[in-house]
Symmetry: C2
Subunit: 415 residues, 2 copies
């Protein structure tokens, strides 16, 4: 077994080599990995079976078991993801800008790999492959810290990826798994500034908070989404119902699902009863303030905690507000800077909302569920950033690179 430090040093050394790979070599390797995963499905499912067995023995709840479970179709899904990443343009080497100074210096701003990216994630084996594919295509090496409960699955996936890389003449250390399953390994990883250039935590609020609070390596904070839909006075009913239902119910366990509905009091009078019925018909549990409670039966009174909660299930907080100003104030107070939506036919309201809401993505007459690397056209995503530094919103290949300046002279010295 390698210690964390050994794996991290190996990744660091590999990152010098992955930075040099040409696009075609990277794409060929990604496609070869896709083929190997499918070919070695049985071996991967064996390992996943061991994870599933111990998870069941420990009484893991069924939604988490479902995340952990692999089958042939899900492995094919991972392979398809790899093939898609192979199709994406290579961000490395792109000249982002260039200009010449009056003294003749040519300055080029060039996109370069980040170096070593440390991923810390929970029991979703697909993250192992998705993260490795994106970081590899972006010219970086990856150090993967899978949760202990998915360790056997992740180890099998990493084994297939490493063996395939090696067969392609590429250093297998481009993809390194943290083999130390202890919790201490995460704490240690968060301090490895000499080997890791960036930490990306993906998972629940506790996992992310631990990384943000304890890392001395720069962190890209992802994910928590207490997203709001604000229905303005002029919103079309049919559109509002379609988008609110979509944002709340199309998939509930994801960060871009809506959690709170804010409704203009005038619109509420006319339409809120119908909208709340559409929600309860779909078994959404409603937590509302007093004015909202007047438009349905059996609403649970909302407490302060409801305004801040990311339910991640068929539940929604409902509040009647006096207008767009109060909606923005509420959102900037309780939101998590992820995705916020206004539904309105009034351009002034929309402009005010788009300008004043502080979030990665602000939607006007579109569902919050579009905050996603694929939906944005990035082809894939490593996560959704909720911080304001470096990258905001869906992070595709470009968002996990850095840049450097090349200054080309002919002997200039500074006067």
């Amino acid at each position: 077994m390698r210690t964390l430090m050994e794996s991290a040093r190996a990744a660091k050394a590999a990152s010098v080599l992955t930075a040099q790979l040409d696009t075609e070599s990277k794409n060929r390797a990604l496609r070869a990995i896709a083929a190997a995963l499918v070919e070695r499905t049985e071996e991967i499912l064996d390992s996943n079976g061991r994870d599933m067995e111990s998870a069941r023995a420990r009484g893991m709840e069924s939604s988490l078991l479902d995340r952990l479970m692999l089958n042939a179709q899900r492995i094919e899904g991972m392979a398809e993801g790899l093939r898609q990443v192979a199709e994406l343009p290579d961000p490395v080497g792109e000249v982002m800008e260039q200009w010449t100074r009056p003294n003749g210096l040519l300055i080029k701003k060039v996109r370069v790999p980040m170096g070593v990216i440390g991923m810390i994630y929970e029991a979703r084996p697909n993250v192992t492959v998705d993260a490795a594919a994106l970081t590899f295509k972006a010219g970086s090496a990856v150090l993967l810290r899978s949760s202990a409960s998915a360790f056997e699955s992740s180890a099998a996936l990493v084994r297939v990826m490493r063996e395939t890389l090696e067969a392609q003449g590429i250093t297998p250390d481009a993809v390194c798994l943290v083999e130390d399953k202890s919790h201490g390994a995460v704490d240690e990883m968060l301090k490895l500034r000499e080997c890791i250039d960036l930490i990306v935590p993906r998972g629940g609020a506790g996992l992310i908070r631990n990384a943000v609070m304890n890392s001395t390596v720069p962190v890209l904070e992802t994910g928590t989404g207490n997203c709001h839909v604000y229905v303005d006075a002029s919103a079309d009913y049919e559109m509002a119902e379609r988008i609110v239902i979509n944002a709340k119910t199309q998939r509930t366990g994801v960060c871009n699902a809506a959690e709170t509905l804010l409704v203009h009091s005038a619109w509420a009078e006319e339409h809120l009863r119908a909208l709340l019925k559409a929600l309860t018909d779909r078994e959404v549990e409603l937590h509302g303030d007093l004015p909202a409670a007047g438009y349905t039966e059996g609403m649970i009174p909302a407490t302060e905690a409801d305004w801040a909660d990311e339910y991640l299930r068929l539940a929604m907080a409902v509040k009647v507000v006096s207008g767009v100003e109060e909606a923005v104030e509420h959102i900037n107070r309780y939101g998590t800077k992820h995705t916020e939506c206004i539904l309105t036919a009034d351009e002034k309201s929309a402009e005010y909302f788009l300008r004043n809401v502080d979030a990665a993505v602000v939607d006007w007459n579109a569902s919050t569920r579009f905050t996603d690397g694929f939906e944005f056209g990035f082809g894939a995503e490593l996560g959704i950033s909720t911080q304001k530094l470096h990258a905001r919103g869906p992070m595709g290949l470009r968002e996990i690179t850095s840049y450097k300046y090349l200054v080309i002279g002919s002997g200039q010295a500074r006067p």
Copy 2:
């Protein structure tokens, strides 16, 4: 006296307002502050005099006293800086990219202010004004933590800025000074995630390290520069002498000064004696390896520490290397990812160096001293980033902003 928390909350509230200011209001305020600083020179010099007096009483060394000292000319210099920032294009609201998805969604990536920027810096009163000017123009509020030894000077400058803002009808809390002079206030500031969006430390290695190691607020690491000049086999002697002398001696106490000279062994045989003489003629103290020592008299033997040291004075480490590969290896081992330079007539060597050196700025036949916001054409700089996340190299107005995505639809829900 305001507590740190009160100042931070005031800055947070102000940042909502500064984000809304139009370009002309910001520029008018910057010019008014420039005029007020000059007009109130005497008042500022009085306060600076008190700082100087206590610094002298505590036995502060003369180079630090010189940094701390203000006079009419230096205040005019700050005012000129403000006028220049007023001339720069406003980064806020810039549409960085926009595209339409097949489903009709229009996605706009728009530059937005960072929010609240916390500056932690040492006894340079000019940073108080430079940082306030840049953050204000970039639409953010600033929370300034000046060192205790420059407190009276900073407080006077902040007073003038705040009073002028207020007279312009702009919230004075756009510029907040941390009034709590205790060391604990810095530690507390580094944890204020709810009020501060970004910490920028500027100063010595200890100050920066403290911020990087203890902050839970995202940090932009600035400054430490152990910069190298590598002289390749084909370098022109005259150019090499000009650039090495410029990089080492034009100004020594700055992060973009060269600290180590790496020389190709073939070039060394022919030219190193002359180059080292040019350096010692300018009183540069040389610390070299054994082969380098053969080309001059009285060279101090270099130890491991010399390769890592940022001398910030008339001293230089010298090493003879076998070629560009060894030079790059040495730089990537001992450098601080700031600025690295190759002098060569050989395009292959240059390409290898530009590609493989991991630094914010890589120069080919140009002095390291050009790594500077003004020299890059950014008009001003908040510092020079040595990290790979968010911004690398000189940070101008754009580099201290964030962005958000606006998604504009016509009722789209996710299938």
